[in-house]
Amino acid sequence: MSIALFQAILFYVFGALALGAALVMVAQRNPTYSAFALIVTLVSLSAVFGLLGSPFIAALQIIVYAGAIMVLFLFVLMLLNVRTEVRAPGEGRVFKLVAIGFGALLVGEIGSVLVAARPALAGGFDASARQVARLLFETQYLYVFEATSILILASLVGAIALAKRDPSP
């Protein structure tokens, strides 16, 4: 079996897995199961990133999303003791129709553009950590990178201040 065929098979397997898990996440009423389905989606997407020739972003996806963000989500779900969503009487149908209508509109609009587009395929593509870091640290993106560290610091302080219990009572 040739490498290209093997890559294509893996791409479709992980793509289908990501899609299926995303559907499970949205259809699921229990938020904890939704979170686990989202983890499956994120890990599959990481494999897709790797197959598209971006090993650095694939590793980052696992570390940051599956490792940090989803752990935070599960932590909050278990801290707040979240119950399964109960069905509201009467008003579900309208929302469902609006949701599916908007989804179909979006798929129709963007899909018509994407189907018409004929993407190229650049040769000699190298997105290793070395090349990405060179672009990140040796060009104008260096300042943006420094700005993101301030953003992270601000959100750290903000999160602590917001979630802190009031000491007064």
């Binding site: 971006s54 609006v98 650049a122």
Partner: protein, 102 residues
């Protein structure tokens, strides 16, 4: 690796984004809504990676890096807000958060 594969990656990104949008409308638990937003951010990342591969341009990878950073900050602050709201309202139903509703 073929151009068709790139196109299918873009279509996968579109499908994931649409699922995220539908989930934001459909689900009423605020944490699930938040997870749907994360899914939409990831769909955007996939489109960036696919275009980066298509044009051989590494700037798409750098943008994904920044989207990841912003998503992490957003998740931290958002979940802190959710904890804070849960303390006042004792529920996570988005319909219950109507203080600023006209």
């Amino acid at each position: 690796m073929s151009p068709t594969l790139i196109q299918h990656a873009l279509l996968l990104s579109l499908a994931l984004f649409a699922i995220g949008v539908v989930g934001v409308f459909l689900r009423r638990n605020v944490i699930t809504v938040f997870m749907c937003i994360e899914l939409m951010l990831n769909a955007g990342n996939l489109a960036f990676i696919a275009f980066s591969r298509a044009w051989g341009n590494l700037e798409g990878q750098v943008l994904v890096f920044f989207v990841l950073t912003v998503a992490a900050a957003e998740a931290a602050v958002g979940l802190a807000i959710i904890i804070s709201i849960h303390r006042h309202k004792d529920t996570l139903d988005v319909d219950a958060f109507n203080l600023m509703k006209w």
